[in-house]
């Protein structure tokens, strides 16, 4: 009997926590959505004066399309570059033992953890001299600083659980290095790569301060545009831009949820 009561209590408290969790997670998106359809939404109304002004602005003003394109372009290139540079590095860290590995590991992880304000401020002078300031190239380079280590740390755990024997087996069976890589290595680590890429994309996608310092106003990614509208109090357009901004993250979330369930790394 006592056990039954305890179980009932546990179920109830779990249910409560789950309901609170559900509300806490999803309610934040409600006002954003509502604002995007408002002309005016003043206290104390729970329903706004409806208008498509914000969405019209989104679909007709070239600055939104330009921003979106820039963000997609930059984040995609950063992700691909990080993957190309990060894959061998992660393999080295995940599968090899060598002197100084601890130090390298620490060094590689630092840029993903340390606030990069100092780095961006410091390197800006150099970028100006090299003509990289206010250019997409410059922004891509500065995004690499937090994204690449993030990619490496994600991939490293994939390699740590990786058994190189399957590669050896393939070689024994007559496959050369390239075929081994393409037909054995890649498929095995593909889920891990996908998750790492998706999250790395989001890290680059979300950057604000770094893009602002290096890219200035010419490289207007979506976060910069979003900030401008929020700062000026235009919550309607801000809300609409926010929804456009969050879409890729949502796509990534739904797309990768099957991979995420088993993944231990963030």
């Amino acid at each position: 009997m006592r056990n039954q009561n305890i179980n009932k209590q546990r179920h109830l408290s779990r249910k409560t926590i789950l309901i609170l969790l559900f509300i806490w997670t999803f309610v934040p998106f409600i006002p954003i959505l509502i604002w995007s359809f408002s002309l005016r939404w003043n206290y104390p109304s729970l329903i706004p004066e409806f208008s498509l002004r914000a969405w019209k602005y989104i679909f007709t003003q070239k600055e939104i399309i330009t921003s979106l394109t820039k963000s997609i372009l930059i984040s995609s290139i950063v992700t691909v570059l990080s993957l190309l540079i990060g894959l061998p590095a992660a393999r080295a860290l995940g599968m090899y033992h060598f002197k100084g590995k601890k130090l390298v590991s620490l060094l590689v992880s630092l840029p993903a953890i340390v606030p990069l304000l100092a780095v961006a401020m410091g390197i800006q002078v150099v970028f100006i001299k090299l003509g990289l300031s206010n250019s997409i190239t410059g922004v891509i380079l500065i995004h690499l600083v937090p994204v690449m280590p993030y990619m490496i740390m994600n991939l490293q755990s994939v390699f740590e659980g990786y058994n190189p024997e399957i590669e050896q087996q393939a070689r024994v069976l007559g496959a050369n290095a390239l075929i081994t890589f393409c037909k054995v290595t890649i498929p095995t680590i593909l889920p891990g790569i996908i998750v790492a890429c998706l999250f790395s994309f989001v890290v680059s996608w979300s950057q604000y301060l770094l893009t602002l310092i290096i890219g200035g106003a010419t490289t207007k990614t979506l976060p910069l545009l979003l900030f401008a509208f929020l700062n000026s109090g235009d919550y309607a357009i801000g809300g609409a831009v926010c929804i456009v901004f969050v879409l890729p993250a949502l796509i990534i979330l739904f797309g990768s949820s099957k991979y995420l369930a088993g993944s231990k790394t963030m």
Binding site: N42, I128, N134, L225, N231, A236
Partner: protein, 441 residues
Amino acid sequence: MKQKALVILMVGIMFFGLLTGCKGKDTQPVQQQDATDNNASSQTDSEQPNEVKTVDNNWGDMTWTEVLEEAKGQTVNWYMWGGSAVINTFVDEVIAERAAQYGIKLNRVGVTSISEAITKVMGEKTAGKDTNGEVDLIWINGANFMTMKQADVLFGPWSESIENAVFVNWEEPSIKYDMGFEVEGYESPWAAAQMQLIYDSQNYSEDALPHNYAQLLEWCKANPGRFTYVAAPDFMGTRFIKQALYELTGGYEQYMRDDITKEEFEEMSQPVWDYFNELAPYLWREGKTYPKSSSELNMMFSNNEVDYSMTLSAGGISSSIAAGTFTETSKVYTMDTSIGDVNYVAIPYNSSAKAAAMVIANIILSPATQAQGIVDISNGPVIDSTLLSEKYVEIIKAAYETLPVGTFVKEQDLIQDRVPEVSGYLNVFINELWNEKVSTR
């Protein structure tokens, strides 16, 4: 009607002639404008090539026709504050379309703070990038303008020689001096600004509202928590405090010197800090904190957290009401001391589209654009109606007539309460002293 127009024109010419003294060349353009007037359409700003004028600039003599020719095919990166959707749309559509008629591609670059553009140009100069600068045109005024001019990063002089410069009264103090700094042809006017208070006519009528700072204190005591102002160093805050400075220390004339030190200013301005500290407990949140920006204040006003907001648009708030920023019953009025000045556009020294940039500045000054600015974005015109032909005067008048009553202050009332913004360099002291003496009490 025609006689009236002629009289106005003649008075205008005499006025202009008197002011400019012996500068013969300045009287000519007014007559020429009359001639081209008959040919020019009211929609575009295309002037006839029979007008030959030299552009007084530091890259040699060029006629306006040659400038127009050079501008064809150029792209202008115009850096400006990007937080207003209506201004963005106005520039992207109205101005850019007119620019396209001249073969110019206008690329608006929105920034959160114009200092981003300034530091960019300064950075380019120190890196030795003297051509092909990123910034071709910049919406600027005041201390920022002075910084750029003194750092030698501005192209000029050019603004008094562009074609539509004839519509501007260059001797008017609010145009000739940008917050006390002499413009000297290094920037061209864009819109007039004047501080007004916004209130909801549903709740109050203008008579019940305070018209000077003494009355404001009384009003706040009677209505605690219903008023606040933007924190310095936001521009709206600085200006509100500076108006108090004029009113509480005996006028603005005493500040028209360029040698006031911070210590001296601290002494001179003490009554202001005493006033704002006395006011604080009756403000929103008892003055323990202030909104960071005018958009924050606007939101608080629309949400009825406070009874006032403020604007600098000399044309009022009709465009903001249409954009949903304010309720439809919102109205504006000026206090007895209301600082009015002008915003400008300037051209960095290293732009490689200077000709096109000048044409943009020219488009801005055209009566058609100025009139549309009144309607679309509540800009106050910077062109002098005494320098315009009757047709253009009508266009401006018609623009004002489209504005709902009460959403703008009539020109004569604006002038009556207007005081100039002098000695812009004092604003830094104002910001520092306010933060030291008032906000961190």
